[in-house]
Amino acid sequence: MVNELSDFVLVSIALLGIGIYGLAVKRNFIRMLFAIEIIINAANLNMVAFGRFLPDSGGQTLALFSIAIAAAEVAVGLSLIIVAYRMYHNVDVADFRSLKG
């Protein structure tokens, strides 16, 4: 193959960094969900890349599991956004204070 394993891993590290930045800086609930999606995709890319280069079907199998679980996570996250928006009329996570001690 022309592309090496390290190239794919570097792209996934860049995506992980962007996702961590989004989680640290943004306070908009929906943007934080975007950042989580980007991080999950970086992890999937890593799994498939290693599975290709150490020829083994485990990488692809785990990536498929991960995609399915991420779908469930997004469904729950979006319904939490809808509930929070209905209660506070805002999507700023700093405003969601009812659990604050």
Binding site: I18, Y21, I38, N41, R52, P55, Q60, F65, L78, S79
Partner: protein, 170 residues
């Protein structure tokens, strides 16, 4: 060495990931997120895993991105265009990102990953199916239960409770 397809895909993926987080409008942000997810599907095709690539397209670009778009449309118009972030946190976040990327890249490039090369043919997707039905079947059933539980939970959470004793409780 990398080829042109890899370069194009990585530029598309990383630029649209940044755009998804930084564009002012959430609607354009979620469309940019679709670009990232599609770019990852392209990487899967480059890695000779067409089955995972199609799964990614069907689940992420097909359903999750559309779900996110519809949720964005439920939010008030001013909130879609308002950026909510701290200025001070922004610089700390960029510094954190750069430190993380440099440190992890240094560790990875130092770890002898360059010696991992392969000339063997790619894994056939039939093998994945066999894996799913033999070794991983308890995990598959567990995943199905988790998925149905999560979707039911999401429905229950998002349900609007209307009209109790003439008074709307939310």
């Amino acid at each position: 060495m990398v080829d042109a397809a890899f370069l194009g895909l990585s530029v598309l993926t990383i630029v649209s990931a940044i755009a998804a987080l930084e564009l002012r409008s959430l609607v354009y942000g979620s469309i940019a997120l679709m670009g990232t997810l599609g770019g990852i599907a392209g990487f899967f095709l480059l890695l000779d895993s067409p089955f995972v690539a199609m799964f990614q397209l069907a689940v992420y670009v097909g359903s999750i991105a559309v779900l996110i778009l519809f949720t964005v449309m439920l939010v008030k118009r001013e909130l879609i265009f308002k950026k909510i972030e701290d200025k001070r946190r922004k610089f700390v976040g960029i510094a954190l990102m750069l430190v993380l990327i440099v440190a992890l890249s240094a560790v990875i490039l130092d770890s002898g990953i360059k010696q991992i090369t392969t000339d063997e043919p790619a894994v056939d997707f039939r093998e994945i199916g066999v894996d799913f039905l033999t070794y991983y079947w308890p995990a598959l059933i567990l995943m199905a239960l988790i998925l149905s539980g999560a979707v039911t939970g999401a429905l229950v959470l998002a349900r609007r409770v209307d009209e109790e004793n003439g008074q709307r409780t939310q």
